[in-house]
Amino acid sequence: MAAEGGGHSPIEQFAIKVVQPLKLFGYDASITNATLFMLLAVALIVGFFFVATRNPGRVPGRLQGAAEAIYEFIASTVRDNLDDGKDGRKYLPLVFSLFMFVLVANMLGMIPGFFTVTSHIIVTAALALLVISVVIIGGFMRHGIGFLKLFAPSGVPGWLMPILIPIEVISFVSRPISLSVRLFANMLAGHIALKIFAGFVGALLGAAGIAKLMAPLPLALTTALTALEFLVAFLQAYVFAVLTCVYLSDAVHGAH
């Protein structure tokens, strides 16, 4: 059994399993393990902030301090990347919610046996499409048709326009794609790598003779990779928040 690396495929952990079949208006809206973990993430976030802000003191307690530190962190990210003043701050709740959801979903995935929702491109793509929709709607609401000037940078000679406009359009269209692919690919690759190296430990222990002595090597690597994955889980949530700010600053400030 252990000789075949536990008999598990490294991608089995990403399988979607229906927990509670459900039909809504003819659509398949079954409750799956992904649904449950998304709900769990949201419940943890709401629960944490509910408890942390229940009895706010002038001198913050431990939980309140943590909640304020998280808020400060995101607020300063928004300040740095969305530029101060104007009405960049009205997007703070969106950036904050996105960051918390991605972070908690990533961190939940690090618990052995738990499901990682952000390792599915459909989840990250939905988040990225939300961001880009807000950019487009917010941009048109603020600048009207002038928002399209985003694709025609000022101070460029006219003959360059036929080249530059397609480049700007491609660069805009690639945003939601790179936003969603980056998060999903990092989480997917990280979890597969962890599973494979952990599988080597079992495979080597099951092997004959001298190979048994090699088993600690992949174990050490798995430990190191786990630490790296925690870093990546945080970093990807942070990058998602930063890029959301950068893209939203187009909506707020219009053309570069």
Binding site: I167, E168, I170, S174, S178, V181
Partner: protein, 129 residues
């Protein structure tokens, strides 16, 4: 307030303009010294700085890949629609690569802001109150 303050005579709790100038000069001097000393003992990059560098790396890589993938995709679709394979594919592949590079350049421009000086330039120009 009254105008006698300007006459240079001692008013309790008031800094004469000469001293004020000297103090400002010393503060600026100390500030610049502090800045050079700080530069000399540049602290090893903190974990946060390392993390931010890594985040920038992820962004740069995906920016370039995203541009190329989207460009090639648009070109491929145009070719399939117009039956001109591989003309638009090649054209839009190049445009996509250019878009990716442009994204990285913009990202780098955003990042290059020098650190603030230790003693901020003070703005009150001798207003006595």
């Amino acid at each position: 307030m009254s105008n006698d303050d300007q006459s240079g005579q001692k008013v309790p709790g008031e800094i004469p303009p000469d001293d004020r100038e000297a103090i400002r000069k010393r503060a600026a001097e100390l500030g610049s010294k502090l800045d050079t000393a700080k530069k000399r003992h540049a602290p090893p990059p903190s974990n946060r700085a390392k993390g931010e560098a890594m985040a920038m790396g992820f962004r740069a890589a995906s920016e370039l890949i995203g541009g190329v993938v989207v460009g090639s995709g648009i070109g491929w679709l145009l070719d399939r629609w117009l039956g001109t394979w591989p003309g638009f594919f090649i054209l839009f592949f190049l445009l996509g690569a250019a878009a990716g590079m442009l994204g990285i350049i913009r990202m780098a421009q955003r990042q290059t802001t020098p650190p603030a000086p230790s003693v901020p330039r003070d703005r009150d120009d001798g207003e006595n109150d």
